[in-house]
C-alpha cells in the first residue's frame, strides 16, 4: 500500500488581512504579571465586574463549544489561547498577511471601577504585544481602552499610539451611552491625533441595559442578531451627533455587526434629514455622505441571502472599498475567505475586500 496520508498543504492563495481574531488567556491569571501590585491584589481579591449573574456561565447557551469552533480547542487552555494552533489552523492555510487582534476577555471595556478599568486596559495592551505580536509578526494589536472613562482612555491611547504595532482603538458596541454623545468625544480627538481608526466590536453585556431597545433577547439566535441593531444605533449616533463634522479625520470600523443594513439606514436618515435638518444644524452634509466617508464594515458573519447575488447590489451601494474581510477566529461562526462569499467577484473586488482596503485603512506594511 502506498502512503496515502498527508498533512493538509497550505494553498497558494491571495494574501488576506483578517480584521477580527480573538486571543484568549491560557489561564485566568494570565494578566497578573502585567498589573501593578495594587491592582493585582484587587483582581485576586475582588475579580472583575462582569454584568451577568454567574461569571463562569454564558448568558445564553450555545450549541457549539461555548461559542467556539469545536476543532479549535488546544491541549492546554481555551480556544484562541494557543499561538501555534492559530498559525496552523488559520494564519498559514488561509495565507493571512496581517491579522488584527480583538482582545475581548477581561479588558477594561466592561469594568466599572474606573482605575481598575484603566489598569486592566493597560495590562491587556501590554499582554497583546508581549504574548502575541512580538511572537508572531503577522499580528497587530488593538488598543483596549476604559471607554466609559474618557480621560483614562485618552491617556491609554497616548501611551500606546506611537507604537505602530497598535493599529486601531477598540470600543465596545454596547456602551453606556450611544457613542455620538459628547462625553466620548475626547476619545475621538485622541484617535484623530493618533491617526488610528476606531473599531467597534460587540463585547459581552456592557452598559447594563438590555441589548435591544425593547428588553433582553430570549434566545442566543436573537442575541446574536441584535449585534446589528447596536451597530445601526451607533452609526446613527455618530452621524447625527455630529462626530464626523467635528472630527473630519475620524474613521470607524463596525466589526461583526453585518453590513447589509447600511443602505436602508442611510435612505431612512436622508429622507428624514430633509424635514428635520433644523434640529441638527451641526450637520453640513447628508447623513449618507458621512456614512460613506467615515464608516467601514467587516464581513463576518456575512449575510447569506437565498440569492447570493443580492449581496452584490448592496456592496455596490456601500462601496467595494468599504468592506474588510474578517474571520472571527476561533469563534463558532468563523468565516474562511474561500467560502464566505458565495457569489462571483472580480479580481479587483477580491483584492480590495480581502487585503487592500485594510492595508490602506490601518496603514499596514
Amino acid at each position: 500500500m502506498n502512503a496515502p496520508f498527508r498533512e493538509q498543504q497550505a494553498r497558494q492563495t491571495l494574501a488576506v488581512v483578517d480584521c477580527d481574531i480573538h486571543p484568549a488567556h491560557r489561564t485566568p491569571g494570565e494578566l497578573l504579571p502585567y498589573l501593578e501590585p495594587r491592582w493585582r491584589e484587587h483582581y485576586q481579591t475582588y475579580g472583575v465586574h462582569v454584568r451577568q449573574a454567574l461569571s463562569s456561565t454564558l448568558m445564553y447557551p450555545r450549541m457549539m463549544a461555548a461559542g467556539m469552533r469545536s476543532d479549535a480547542l488546544p491541549a492546554n487552555g481555551p480556544a484562541g489561547s494557543d499561538l501555534e494552533m492559530l498559525r496552523k489552523q488559520h494564519l498559514d492555510p488561509v495565507n493571512v498577511e496581517f491579522g488584527l487582534l480583538m482582545a475581548l476577555s477581561k479588558g477594561g471595556m466592561e469594568e466599572r471601577n474606573p482605575e481598575f478599568a484603566a489598569a486592566m486596559s493597560r495590562a491587556t495592551n501590554d499582554w497583546q504585544i508581549d504574548r502575541w505580536v512580538r511572537e508572531e509578526p503577522r499580528l497587530r494589536a488593538g488598543i483596549v481602552v476604559p471607554q466609559e472613562f474618557p480621560e483614562a482612555a485618552v491617556a491609554e491611547i497616548e501611551r500606546c499610539a506611537a507604537d505602530r504595532r497598535y493599529v486601531q482603538i477598540m470600543l465596545s458596541s454596547r456602551p453606556s451611552d450611544p457613542l455620538g454623545h459628547p462625553r466620548y468625544w475626547p476619545i475621538y480627538a485622541a484617535a484623530e491625533r493618533a491617526g488610528l481608526p476606531i473599531g467597534l466590536h460587540p463585547v459581552g453585556y456592557n452598559g447594563g441595559h438590555p441589548s435591544t431597545g425593547s428588553g433582553w433577547p430570549t434566545y442566543y439566535l436573537q442575541e446574536h442578531y441584535v449585534f446589528v441593531a447596536c451597530m445601526e444605533a451607533l452609526a446613527a449616533s455618530f452621524i447625527l451627533g455630529g462626530v464626523f463634522e467635528r472630527f473630519p479625520g475620524l474613521k470607524v470600523v463596525l466589526v461583526e455587526g453585518g453590513f447589509a443594513w447600511a443602505p436602508a439606514l442611510a435612505w431612512r436618515m436622508d429622507k428624514h434629514f430633509d424635514k428635520f435638518r433644523k434640529e441638527v444644524p451641526h450637520l453640513k452634509q447628508l447623513p449618507s455622505d458621512y456614512l460613506r466617508q467615515h464608516i467601514w464594515w467587516t464581513t463576518q458573519p456575512i449575510e447569506e441571502p437565498e440569492q447570493a447575488r443580492h449581496l452584490v447590489e448592496i456592496i455596490d451601494w456601500i462601496g467595494w472599498d468599504r468592506l474588510l474581510y474578517s474571520s472571527d477566529y476561533p469563534h463558532w461562526d468563523y468565516d474562511n475567505p474561500s467560502f464566505s462569499f458565495k457569489f462571483p467577484m472580480t479580481e479587483a473586488q477580491r483584492r480590495k475586500i480581502f487585503r487592500d482596503n485594510a492595508m490602506a485603512l490601518y496603514r499596514l506594511s
Binding site: P4, D71, W332, S338
Partner: protein, 137 residues
C-alpha cells in the same frame, strides 16, 4: 470510478476517524460502530474540515414538550457553523434542498481481492494478514 485502498482495516477501528488523500482530494473516514463512512473533508457551507466534527444524532419532535435525540451516531455536525449531515448520504438536514456533503462508497475488502493487473509475475508464497478499507471515487 476507480477503487483506492486508503488504509488497513485495523487502522480504522470502530469509534475512530481519520483523513486520507485520495486522487487529490482529502477524504474524511469514519467507523461508527462498524459502519464505514467516507465524505469529502470539506463542509459545503463554510469549508471546514469536517473530520473534526461531532458525531451525533438528530433531534426529533412531534410537538411542544416532546424532544428526542434519535438515530445516534448517524449524523455529523460541522465543527464551525453546526450544519448537520447524514453520514450515510452526505445529506444536510439544515437545508436539505440545496446543501449536501459529497460522500463516497466505502467498504472493507480482503487484501487478496484487491490487486489484479494484466501481467502475471513470478510468484512467491504470500500470506494475506489484513483487510483494507477501500473507497470508490
Amino acid at each position: 470510478m476507480s477503487r483506492h485502498v486508503v488504509c488497513a482495516a485495523d487502522e480504522l477501528p470502530p469509534g475512530s476517524r481519520r483523513t486520507a488523500f485520495v486522487d487529490g482530494r482529502e477524504i474524511a473516514l469514519f467507523n461508527v460502530d462498524g459502519r464505514l463512512h467516507a465524505l469529502l473533508n470539506r463542509c459545503p457551507h463554510g469549508g471546514a474540515r469536517i473530520c473534526s466534527g461531532i458525531v451525533t444524532g438528530i433531534a426529533q419532535s412531534s410537538g411542544p414538550g416532546d424532544y428526542r435525540l434519535e438515530r445516534h451516531g448517524e449524523f455529523l455536525r460541522c465543527p464551525w457553523h453546526g450544519w448537520e449531515f447524514e453520514l450515510a448520504t452526505g445529506q444536510s438536514w439544515c437545508d436539505p434542498r440545496t446543501t449536501r456533503l459529497r460522500n463516497y462508497e466505502v467498504r472493507r475488502e480482503a487484501g487478496g481481492n484487491l490487486v489484479k493487473g494484466p501481467y502475471v509475475a513470478e510468484r512467491y508464497p504470500v500470506v494475506v494478514e489484513n483487510d483494507y478499507i477501500v473507497i470508490d471515487i
